[in-house]
Amino acid sequence: MSSRPTPQQQAPAPGQGTSLAATKAAATGLWVLVGAGLAYGVSQTLLRVVQLFG
């Protein structure tokens, strides 16, 4: 879902489109970074857990 514009929001300020695209790119980059970080942390932890039942 994305934001539902109110009447006041219909006319974006100059440069807002560029800013929005940059923010979207940064947010996507953050999703990748936090996803990779969590995958690294979980995999490292599971390697240690193996020793408990190994």
Binding site: M1, S2, S3, R4, P5, T6, Q8, Q9, Q10, P12, A13, Q16, S19, L20, T23, K24, A26, A27, G29, L30, W31, L33, V34, G37, L38, Y40, G41, V42, Q44, T45, L46, R48, V49, V50, Q51, L52, F53, G54
Partner: protein
């Protein structure tokens, strides 16, 4: 200078048309994953003790962590209103600045052999970053996800649990990589490790602060309409932080959080010796695996149970945490020694409830007090965490030490303390059962409230309400224009 920093202002963070609310969770996660490193600080205990020539004395090093946690509680409690007033971007930027400065000053302290600089840097300044960072994205997430506040806050607060999962192996790897002879000592790797971590967290938190936005006035999720009648425990009004702490609901929730955290932290803090005492076949390396598994359960519980609370309701979710949790503790006492698998399963679920309790509480507060100053109220409630951080480990370790003195051994060392935890959870269960909707005399006035008689009655009975402009939460303040769940 002030104009250069004006991009941090709340007014400059209002989302433009077309902005996706799914950009907000990674920004919040970036901050929580960064500050969650604090739970992995024990990785540095032995190298720091060696660097400062403390031998086997770890207490001066453990003090660094304690200072950071105390500062977390204080900053969250006293900085909450500032965070609400100044918005999430400025709060995240301040949090990142403090957190990174904490590492840099800490590194200076380590390189110059001045332990007090580590206390000041990582402990005091970094601890302020922890507290501000912990609460900064919470109310923003709730405003973006009025339809699923539990899922939203669960995602962010999951990051605080996950931060240690990442930082622990990463720090160990860095310490070894930077040490001249990692087999002999990793103490000389501390400073470069601190600097690398500071750089990583600066990027992560900086990006998070850049991406974060508050919703525009009138925004609400497409196709979503608040249901005023479906959930009696969800308020349609707003309560200020100042008034919230005057309500019994706040203090019932304080007890609920205190009891849930006390019970969980008691196991978490003693996990390694406990599993080794229960099972002689478990050695230190396997116990480390058990600690890792508990951390994983803690992290997953934050997301899964908090999201579940959107479906079954916050009060019912805490009934499960506290009621089922007490039952599970009792089962550990009765059957914990039957097998490693049974012990791990029972304590794993208990730890998932511990994490879930942290993640669900912002949504519970939002249900009871509205979204107006939920971040500030959350900050004040986190003092329960600080108190439980003392009570939980004290109960388990003091009772264990007494049992040792009395000649007990193995799982018998924990029978009494686990039984006490059952009682603690029952107290929390009762407190949760007593939670009722907040009396309307604590509500903020509503511009759209066209019920003069009721309004006058409430106004007359309202306790010490602060002027609305003074509490300022900016453009997204209050309903229905803010899209709160009404």
């Amino acid at each position: 200078m002030s104009s250069a920093l004006s991009f941090l202002d709340r007014e400059r963070t209002v989302a433009p048309p077309g902005f996706s609310r799914w950009s907000i969770p990674p920004a919040a996660l970036a901050v929580h994953l960064s500050i969650g490193q604090v739970y992995a600080f024990s990785v540095f205990n032995l190298p720091l003790a060696e660097r400062f020539g403390l031998g086997d004395r770890l207490q001066p090093i453990a003090t660094i962590f304690s200072i950071a946690i105390v500062m977390l509680g204080l900053a969250a409690a006293f900085g909450g209103t500032w965070v609400e007033r100044n918005g999430p971007r400025k709060a995240m930027a301040l949090s990142g600045l403090c957190w990174v400065a904490g590492f840099l000053i800490g590194a200076l302290g380590v390189s110059t052999g001045q332990l007090w600089l580590v206390y000041l840097g990582y402990g005091v300044i970094g601890g302020i970053g922890l507290g501000i960072g912990y609460i900064s994205p919470v109310s923003t997430l709730i405003k973006w996800f009025p339809d699923r506040p539990g899922l939203a806050t669960g995602m962010a607060i999951m990051g605080f649990g996950g931060g240690a999962l990442i930082a622990s192996p990463l720090s160990t790897t860095l310490l070894s990589a930077f040490a001249a002879d990692p087999e002999a000592s990793t103490a000389d790797g501390i400073v470069p490790t601190f600097l690398v971590l500071a750089a990583i967290y600066a990027v992560m938190m900086g990006l998070g602060a850049w991406v974060i936005r508050v919703p525009a006035q009138g925004w609400k999720p497409e196709g979503w309409e608040p249901d005023e009648h479906a959930a009696p425990m969800r308020t349609t009004a707003n309560v200020s932080a100042k008034n919230a702490i005057r309500t019994p609901q706040f203090w019932f929730l304080w007890i609920v959080l205190f009891c849930n955290v006390t019970a969980g932290i008691g196991i978490l803090q003693q996990a390694s010796p406990m599993v080794q005492d229960f099972f002689s076949s478990v050695d230190a390396a396997a116990a480390a695996g058990y600690v890792g598994l508990l951390s994983l359960c803690n992290m997953i519980g934050r997301f899964v149970w908090s999201s579940t609370s959107d479906v079954i309701g916050r009060k019912a979710m805490y009934t499960v945490y506290l009621g089922v949790g007490a039952g599970l503790y009792f089962l550990v006492v009765l059957f914990g020694t039957s097998s490693v698998l049974v012990f791990v399963l029972l304590t794993g679920v208990i730890l998932s409830f511990y994490g879930g309790g942290f993640a669900t509480v912002p949504a519970y507060l939002k249900d009871l007090f509205g979204g107006y100053q939920v971040g500030a109220i959350h900050g004040r409630l986190l003092t329960a965490w600080s108190a439980a951080g003392i009570a939980g480990p004290v109960i388990v370790t003091q009772v264990r030490d007494r049992q040792v003195a009395a000649g007990a051994e193995g799982s018998d060392l924990y029978g009494l303390s686990l039984s006490i935890m059952v009682g603690v959870l029952v107290v929390g269960f009762i407190a949760n059962a007593l939670v009722r909707p907040v009396d309307s005399r604590f509500h903020e006035p509503d511009d759209d409230d066209a019920a003069p008689a009721g309004g006058e009655a409430r106004e007359a009975g309202r306790p010490g309400r602060a002027p609305r402009e003074a509490t300022g939460a900016g453009t997204v303040r209050r309903t229905p224009a803010t899209g709160e769940a009404r």
